[in-house]
Amino acid sequence: MTIIDAVLGDFFWRALLGGLGVALVAGPLGCFVVWRRMAYFGDTLAHSALLGIALSFLISVPLNLGVVITCVLIALALVLLSRTRTLATDTLLGILAHSALAIGLVTLSFMPDVRVDLTGLLFGDLLAMTRQDLVWIYGGAAFVLSLLALLWRGLLMSTIHEELARVEGIPVERLRLALMLMFSLVIAVAMKIVGVLLITALLIIPAATARRLAHNPEHMTALAVVFGVVAVSGGLTLSWYLDTPAGPSVVVTAFLVFLMVYAGARQSRH
């Protein structure tokens, strides 16, 4: 048996590998969530992942695929509905987020022969990481990271000043859609580790922690990855030794790091 087999054969290492893959994409995307004030938007997409799971069971397609497609559709619906401006965006997001979650739960309850671990879906499950999930995570991460690198200047510019970006010929609307597609992918692959309710935390907290120390956007992105990696490895270790739920343990670790960095930065100022 090779070392790789030994690692992949152990569910803790599988979970850790998966978590690190998620942290790799959550860092840069999390920065965009923070910069573009999309936290609530991310939450809505994450909640609709549960609807995606229910629908996947209903029409028997692979879970990851079902989640990505549902998230993309909800994202498109959000973009279209927010253009009509009949409801404030946060109201709209609140309606869609909770309705999607509720519809997902109700649909699942109609399928008694489908046995899903609801707690695992909502809060993440260390034991659930399969080799196939790892393929999804690293495939998704590679795709999202290359897309981000390719679109970086345009995305950053349209985040800084949308109109200026448009005048300079940057396809702002298409970039917005690309960003949503990337979010949907990340949510689909991160769901297993931290659960749908806590994905946004993994996006936001490392990015916010990085902000305290960063001097330019790329620096912030790299630091967010580092803090994400710390949160995932610390959290999963915690979960392993203390038998705590995986998702919340990761988020608690991320939060502790956030507190330490902010306290440290405050100290060094005086």
Partner: protein, 257 residues
């Protein structure tokens, strides 16, 4: 006479069937400085957004010179506090070489701020940074939305002076929106007073006597402005037709110095 950079013909922009910009004609050529003035809600910003191509016209014709490079100076640069950004990085995001960016910053007098954080700039410095960013693109047309906002009185005059110099150096066309009537009148070639439609247009000292202008801005403003003289080395008339701004300018051999 060179081909115009931008030509608007009977352009209307309506929101919910309510015209915000109503059948406006406007032509800007190289070397022109056109200033749009008008009360709040007159559609000034909507009009320049149409010129910029970020607001679709409901009806009418907009034609721009092929390959036109526009430098846009928006009203504000409000940066998310969560986004760390240095002046250098912001300039480089224009996609131009560092040497061009530095030269542009030099020209607007903020080269010393190259490594400063954009968050720490004053209002005036931000305006100069935005102007530098527009310059780095070597624009054919410079579009400025209230460039002197947040700039103190002394700075305002200098800024308008700089804009005029830039017109001569780049030989570009300039469209700007302004509220600073006094300074505008001294710094501009052509004024368009907008109140949904073009209520009057022409040369500064003429426009201040135009009945439509007096009606829009009141006697006091008009009288105080009449004192400001704009030096032309030629004679001209104001064809006070309400919407025909392009016509008012045509056939006038304008010598810019």
């Amino acid at each position: 006479m060179t081909d115009p950079l931008v030509r608007l013909e009977q352009v209307t922009v309506a929101f919910d069937d309510r015209p915000v910009v109503d059948r406006v004609n406007l032509t800007v050529s190289r070397g022109d400085i056109v200033t749009i003035i008008g009360p709040n809600g007159a559609g000034k910003t909507t009009l320049i957004k149409t010129v910029l191509g970020i607001q679709r016209a409901t009806s009418g014709q907009l034609s721009v010179a092929p390959g036109l490079v526009i430098g846009y100076v928006p009203q504000h640069l409000t940066l998310e506090p969560t986004l760390p950004l240095s002046v250098r990085r912001f300039m480089l995001l224009s996609g131009r070489a560092l040497s061009d960016c530095k030269a542009a910053l030099e020209r607007t007098g903020v080269a010393h701020l190259l490594d400063a954080s954009v968050h720490h700039l004053s209002g005036g410095e931000k305006q100069r940074l935005l102007l530098a960013r527009a310059l780095a693109r070597k624009p054919d047309l410079l579009v400025l939305d209230e460039p002197a906002q947040g700039v103190d009185i002394n700075g305002q005059a200098t800024l308008y002076d700089l804009i005029r110099q830039l017109r001569d150096e780049l030989h570009c066309g300039i469209i700007m929106i302004s509220h600073d009537l006094h300074l505008v009148m001294a710094a501009t070639d052509r004024v368009i007073c907008l109140n949904q439609h073009v209520c009057c247009s022409g040369y500064p000292e003429d426009i201040s006597q135009d009945p439509a202008f007096v009606e829009t801005f009141g006697h006091q403003v008009a009288e105080s402005l009449a004192v400001y003289h704009h030096h032309h080395n030629h004679r001209h008339n104001l064809h006070g037709d309400v919407v025909s701004t392009a016509d008012a300018h045509e056939g006038c051999s304008h010598d810019h110095h």
